[in-house]
Subunit: 502 residues, 2 copies
């Protein structure tokens, strides 16, 4: 039923910055997401799924570059001429939803959402234009208990995912304290040039991890020349002002109570700043009351979080262990989740303030950290038992074996290709099969099947020097009665089942 | 840190045909997807995730309207001026992936993929522009074992989801048989007008369920006037030809062997048609060998499947029970999954044929069928235990209770709003909370807490006539020692745990 022949042959490829993911990666991510989901549900958060597509104006404010309303998103015109776009994050759609359905929501509204977001940005190594985020937000309460709960929940999540208390910390700061310090150095909120100056100061502080105190000092002052010869303009602060900012940034350490006391001292009689310190104290108390004392939630004034819309506490989860990067260098893994309070986000729709706070996990980033750490070792995706087909004309016999295995709860498949024994074994290897089942003429005559333990085989062949030695023994291969097929396969599988996998 | 005031206030709303989904729906879908996933993995299928966005030319061929290359999809120009689009289904991306990564795949390649697809079509009631599909495909084998496996797997999936063997069937047909019949009536494959005639015949057959044999006869002949006064042109077949087609369409029933025999008779010496009958016989044998005799996989010549690209077996899973529609009418639910063999799909990229077969579940459709059937009753999303806050100044006490509950494995949350007792209870109701915990002044003085069993309360209040009677007893409310909080809450929850929920 072919229509007239067309010569055009499209290239089989993906647009830049997009990717396909295969079983190993997809399975690990699913496992991880499931475990995060379990913790979040446990804390009372409910799943939500907003649509992938929103009106551009509903997303607009949160784009990185406000001068290009379409910059950063994948947008297109709907048939009613209105511009719509793929969501850029999961926060803007939440703000839209809350504004739209405010009256029908149980408030405070705790929800989590996991799914892809899309960014129309230049892709790079490990930087994709479609990636997963896992967000939790509490909307409709000004209480610091909500912020503290998110911090504790993320700490518990990382612990649940197999990280020890010395392998991560959740660092908490407060924009109000930072603003108090900025007020103190005379960068008033209202004037346009102060706004730019504040942003430059925030960006400078945000680079503490990367540039150290000296680099930040340069960026707070006249500017900084980096190794590549690029010059970055500074905020132009006076030395005394720089000292004040650095005093604030370096006020961490020695326990949450000590940090709060130091901060109170720094903001002195700035009422906004003192408010912020009080909020941090409340968070510290709630963390204490959560009974998760062993989980590191720390007040740390060097936390900035890039986005402008935060209005109170900001927090981020940081992995503190080193991993080896592509260049073979040991590097700190850094931040895998971040968030904060954004009391103004809903008001752009409704005109009224709706207090809200939330945290977002970078799913792919966290996953690669866990893989690098070996934390997911027990969750390797295991292939099916493969039943080889030694006689294509009698394929029903082999199908019968597959059915027996499946009906007994064993993941199993029939080899469905047309190749010979060697290619079939290669296929089984590629499928990560733990066991293959073989019934050739000899076996059939003896009412037997041969089982090959591919996991044991791989271990042995790694140990044994010569392939001759290996062939002699064939300890990973055994002939069993046809009637014992299921029982024997199950026994073989049980030998290799890692803890945590059923 | 507000920038200069902007007056513009966007409307909080979604583009037409998109939706938000809340906890109840999302949870049920997740449960259902998990269970399908488990069956598919069990059969040896591995998860795959292709990107949401593809080059339009990679999707193009499969759009419903070939004359409008952008019709039906959400497309936009990438920054290199190339047109890209959101995937329209999960089959076209699979064909692209196979063509692109052919050499590195273990073949035959069994994969499943679940995720949203997007259609830029006119939305309607229950008809969204973003919805989930769950696809399984086997690529790289011409063996009918692959098609049969998919049919058996989908039958097992529906059984796993709680449907009985008389509540659904998987119906199988073969395009080759259909083509044999069309050849027999002289609609040759090559001529352009025959192509159109074939399509008209297929579309007519596809309406058997809706219009009955008489309606199909009209559409095969001169045409049909429907109740609304619309006239549909017919295929213009002669009466003898119509008899032949109808003989084919109505050849079902009486067991797969009998149907195959009838079909062989109908296609007579048409070699393509006989090939098709032989394939159906093989599928029937494989279904038999699968040991799932109680699951209804039936050869049924009235199955067409709309899409043009099928080249061999086609199959669909149909629910046979009646549900009540919005108008209160009892209607058959109909098809929830469909697929077939499409040996030509990869060749448009590569120029070589890659045999493939696959089935797609309409996730949202199946889910609403299961909900209508009550098959997911045991998987209702349950809210968290809510600890009320009776004294805002001492919120730490209540946080402490929440922590104890959570640490003991109970889903629990602190009420984080600022409202009084009545509003807090209303919140707990809205949250679907099974239990609320109350510690007022009296309780505190007595070192007690009050537990309210909201599930029992709802049951009782449905039974009891007057609210006075209800108030007297308060059997759903109990005061327990503060120290017994966790144990008593757990006991209360255990009373209501439905089977299958932990």
């Amino acid at each position: 039923m072919a229509k007239k022949e067309k010569k055009f042959r499209p290239k089989a490829r993906l647009p830049r910055g997009f990717r396909d993911q295969f079983a190993a990666d997809v399975s690990l991510r699913l496992d991880m997401i499931d475990r995060i989901r379990t913790v979040y549900e446990h804390y009372g958060f409910d799943p939500l799924e907003t649509s992938s597509i929103e009106y551009v104006e509903a997303l607009g404010k949160f784009l990185p570059d406000e001068d290009r309303p379409m910059g950063g998103v994948f947008g297109f015109q709907d048939d009613d001429e209105q511009w719509v776009a793929l969501r850029y994050d999961l926060t803007a759609p939440l703000a839209r939803l809350v504004a739209e359905k405010y009256d029908s929501l149980a408030k405070p509204f705790r929800r989590y959402q996991v799914g892809p977001v899309w960014r129309n940005e230049k892709p790079g190594p490990g930087r994709f234009r479609e990636f997963y985020q896992f967000d939790a937000d509490t909307v409709g309460t000004p209480l610091m208990a909500a912020d503290a709960e998110l911090c504790v929940m993320v700490a518990e999540t990382l612990a649940t995912l197999g990280l020890g208390p010395d392998e991560f910390k959740v660092r908490v700061n407060n924009r109000k304290v930072l603003n108090g310090v900025l007020d103190a150095i005379g960068a008033a909120v209202d004037a346009e040039d102060s706004y730019v100056k504040r942003l430059t100061v925030l960006r400078a502080i945000d680079k503490l991890d990367r540039l150290g105190a000296g680099g930040v000092r340069d960026l707070l002052g006249k500017g900084r020349l980096d190794e590549s010869g690029d010059y970055t303009d500074g905020a132009g602060l006076e030395p005394a002002q720089i000292d004040l900012v650095m005093g604030f940034v370096e006020a961490g350490g020695g326990g949450n109570a000590a940090v709060c006391a130091r901060l109170a001292e720094l903001v002195k009689d700035q009422s906004a700043g003192l408010d912020g310190v009080r909020e941090l104290e409340q968070i510290a108390e709630f963390v204490e009351a959560s009974g998760k004392a062993n989980q590191p939630v720390e007040i740390d004034p060097s936390v900035v979080r890039g986005l402008e819309y935060y209005t109170g506490p900001v927090y981020e989860a940081e992995l503190t262990f080193e991993v080896t990067n592509e260049k073979g260098q040991a590097v700190q893994f850094g931040s895998v989740a971040g968030g904060g309070r954004y009391d103004d986000l809903v008001s752009r729709f409704k005109g009224v303030q709706v207090p809200a706070t939330g945290i977002s996990i970078g799913v792919d980033r966290l996953l690669s950290a866990l893989i690098a750490r070996g934390a997911l070792e027990n969750f390797t995706h295991r292939g099916p038992v493969v039943v080889l087909v030694m006689d294509q004309d009698d394929i029903g016999r082999y199908q019968q074996m597959v059915s027996e295995l499946r009906n007994a709860g064993v993941r199993a498949e029939l080899y469905l290709g047309g190749s010979g024994m060697r290619a079939q074994l290669k296929y089984a290897d590629k499928r990560n099969a733990p066991v293959v089942v073989i019934e050739g003429e000899d076996e059939r005559a003896a009412a037997q099947v041969t089982l090959k333990d591919l996991i044991l085989g791989a271990e042995l062949s790694a140990e044994i020097e010569t392939s001759e030695e290996w062939r002699k023994g064939q300890p990973a291969q055994v002939a069993v009665a046809r009637g014992d097929l299921v029982a024997q396969v199950k026994e073989m599988l049980a030998r290799h089942t890692p803890a945590g996998v059923s």
